[in-house]
């Protein structure tokens, strides 16, 4: 019993770190472009598929960690120019546009990758004893990678030119433009970065979950929950909420079936929305 609880809680924690990466991408797009991105789950799914293709093409798993975010960034930037820019940040229209994107991405993957879900073999096999249970090494490794990527993203926001531009445009677009920041280019880059984060999350998660053209459908509500519970625009809150939600779901799963776990996190979500719509962590950060 204790082992099951520990195992599922660990799984939840690690899944939460990966979700945090994806949700961060969603939050950045949401916060900067005011786009409700229905296709974000599919960005994640495209990441898993890119990882699968790069593994089968090169035989090397690790290349997927570079291929997925890079191609993701490029697709994201192109999407921003072709689809998002023409609708001028109208949130209601963005729902329709990204719904269309979601269909196109899923169908493209179904044509190229196929409709059958596939499992990917983890590049690091074996287990390691941890608190008295044998735990898969790859999952621990994935958690480490996700943590490094999260830290890297926050450093990127704080210390690179693009990161500072992104924060500036988000803070006050008018002033940022007056100071000579190319806002349009920042939007393109931001969407690319958002896609890249989700795709990277997909590449990391590919050996843990299944690679499937509908793989993003379940991830999407979870990411939105993390963004809202964490507080809109509160990036650190998003990360904390993602980890917390997945960890709690993991805990509940050890005593009840996964559906009950999902329902309990949804109920928690409703409570947060009604009692603290500004997010769970407002007042703790900044």
């Amino acid at each position: 019993m204790r082992d099951t609880v520990l195992l599922l809680a660990m799984n939840g924690l690690i899944w939460g770190l990966i979700i945090a990466l994806i949700a961060l991408g969603l939050s950045v797009i949401f916060g900067l472009l005011d786009i409700i991105n229905i296709a974000h789950g599919d960005f994640f799914m495209v990441g898993t598929v890119l990882a699968w293709f790069s593994l089968s093409a090169t035989g090397n798993f690790w290349i997927g960690f570079i291929v997925a975010p890079v191609i993701g960034f490029v697709i994201g930037a192109i999407i921003q120019r072709l689809v998002i820019q023409p609708i001028h940040g109208a949130a209601a229209l963005s729902i329709v546009a990204t719904f269309g994107l979601s269909l196109i991405l899923q169908e493209t993957v179904r044509i190229t990758f196929g409709a059958t879900p596939r499992r990917m073999l983890a590049p690091i096999q074996g287990t390691v004893p941890l608190f008295g249970i044998d735990y898969e090494i790859y999952r621990l490794f994935a958690a480490g990678i996700a943590l490094v990527a999260l830290a890297g993203f926050f450093l990127f926001l704080q210390h690179t030119k693009l990161g500072i531009w992104m924060r500036a445009v988000r803070h006050d677009r008018e002033t940022a433009v007056a100071m000579g920041i190319p806002a349009q280019r920042v939007y393109v880059m931001t969407f690319g970065v958002g896609f890249a984060l989700a795709a990277f999350g997909g590449a990391v998660a590919a050996p843990i979950t299944t690679v499937d053209f509908r793989g993003g459908v379940d991830v999407l509500p979870f990411c939105f929950m993390a963004v809202i519970i964490g507080g809109l625009g509160n990036l650190a809150g998003t990360v904390a909420a993602a980890v917390l939600l997945a960890f709690l779901e993991g805990l509940v799963q050890s005593v009840a079936d996964p559906t009950v776990a999902r329902i309990s996190s949804l109920v928690l979500m409703s409570a947060v929305l009604l009692l603290r719509p500004q997010g769970l962590f407002k007042g703790f950060t900044r």
């Binding site: 409700i36 229905i38 689809v83 023409p86 609708i87 109208a90 949130a91 209601a92 229209l93 729902i95 329709v96 546009a97 719904f99 269309g100 994107l101 979601s102 269909l103 196109i104 899923q106 169908e107 493209t108 179904r110 044509i111 459908v217 509500p221 939105f224 929950m225 809202i228 809109l232 079936d257 559906t259 009950v260 999902r262 329902i263 949804l266 109920v267 979500m269 409703s270 929305l273 009604l274 719509p277």
Partner: protein
């Protein structure tokens, strides 16, 4: 326009089999049902400014009210229909009490969350709901006059029954929108702070709209259960709600017939393309994107814009002609 549309809708059961085949009568029946569902999203988004991503919940309650009423409780047609509608309204009232306290993004998210909770409940209560596979039932007759029995198993009767119910609902919605209550809705959509300052109770008005939208979605769900002779949890998933929003915005949010136009467009394309090409979703996706780029006010909005511009051009060219005629 309106007269020719009405004539077309009434002549469908004879016109369509003469032109193509009976299959399209059932497609048009389905379009009517789904456009009522889209209308429920439109009532909230287009007229009150609340973007609901959870209308599938009330659609599902309408559906299960009918299916469980017939299959488990052994109800006849009308009581089952009533059960479906009442359970949808009750659900909308309970969730609306909480949901309409929030607005914009938060409202959209909480409607999704509520619908997901009941989606997962329906999936997990498989003995009752049948989960994603759903439950089948056999249709009870609608009317029984002495010896003659009217049942939805007759496609022509089914079509007229659906047409009558959907038209009645659209008419009710039209009456509400043009009543003082409807003006209150519009005031809230345009500026909820101003609406509250002129003495409107924003919370209560939003709740009324939410329950009305639940009613429309419930009726469409009940009709769809009769139409398909089954109910399934898969119709409560958030993607079904999303489709109603997309159909509404592409057709024209805040217009009476926008949802009908959007729904017709997407379902007709699905039916035509899917029989020739497996990957018809690509076209649907592309169409949704093109629609918001080139017709941000929806197809009906685009049409109205053209009509206004045409009217202005006529008005601009009319006076000189008058003066010309006036000169000797």
């Amino acid at each position: 326009m309106a007269v020719s549309a009405a004539t077309f809708l009434i002549s469908v059961p004879w016109l369509i089999p003469a032109l193509t085949d009976n299959f399209w009568v059932s497609v048009i029946t389905e379009i009517l049902i789904w456009s009522l569902f889209a209308a429920s999203a439109n009532l909230l988004f287009g007229y009150v400014g609340l973007l609901s991503f959870g209308q599938a919940l009330y659609f599902g309650f309408g559906m299960y009210g009918v299916a469980l009423g017939i299959d488990h409780l052994g109800l006849s047609f009308w009581p089952a229909f009533g059960l479906g509608i009442v359970s949808a309204i009750a659900m909308a009232l309970v969730s609306g009490v909480f949901a309409v306290r929030l607005s914009w993004h938060y409202f959209a998210i909480i409607t999704v969350v509520f619908s997901l909770i009941f989606y997962f409940l329906a999936v997990s209560m498989k003995p009752l709901t049948g989960g994603d596979d759903g439950i089948n039932f056999s249709l009870p007759p609608v009317f029984r006059f002495g010896g003659s029995i009217w049942s939805l198993t007759d496609p022509t009767f089914q079509y007229f029954f659906v047409l009558a119910v959907v038209s009645l609902c659209f008419f009710l919605m039209y009456r509400v929108i043009n009543s003082p209550l409807g003006k209150g809705f519009l005031a809230i959509r345009d500026n909820d702070l101003r609406a509250s300052l002129i003495g409107l109770n924003v919370y209560v008005l939003r709740l009324i709209a939410f329950v009305m939208a639940g009613f429309l979605a419930g009726v469409s769900g009940a009709l769809f259960a009769f139409f398909g002779r089954y109910a399934s949890a898969s119709y409560m998933f958030y993607q079904v709600s999303g489709e109603a929003v997309v159909w509404t915005i592409v057709g024209g949010a805040g217009t009476m017939f926008g949802p009908l136009v959007g729904t017709t467009l997407f379902i007709v394309i699905r039916e035509i393309v899917s029989s020739h090409w497996e990957h018809h979703s690509l076209i649907v996706g592309l169409l949704a994107i093109l629609a918001v780029i080139f017709a941000p006010k929806g197809i009906v909005g685009l049409w109205n814009g053209w009509m206004t511009r045409l009217g202005e051009r006529d008005a601009a060219s009319a006076p000189p002609r008058l003066t010309l005629q006036a000169e000797p």
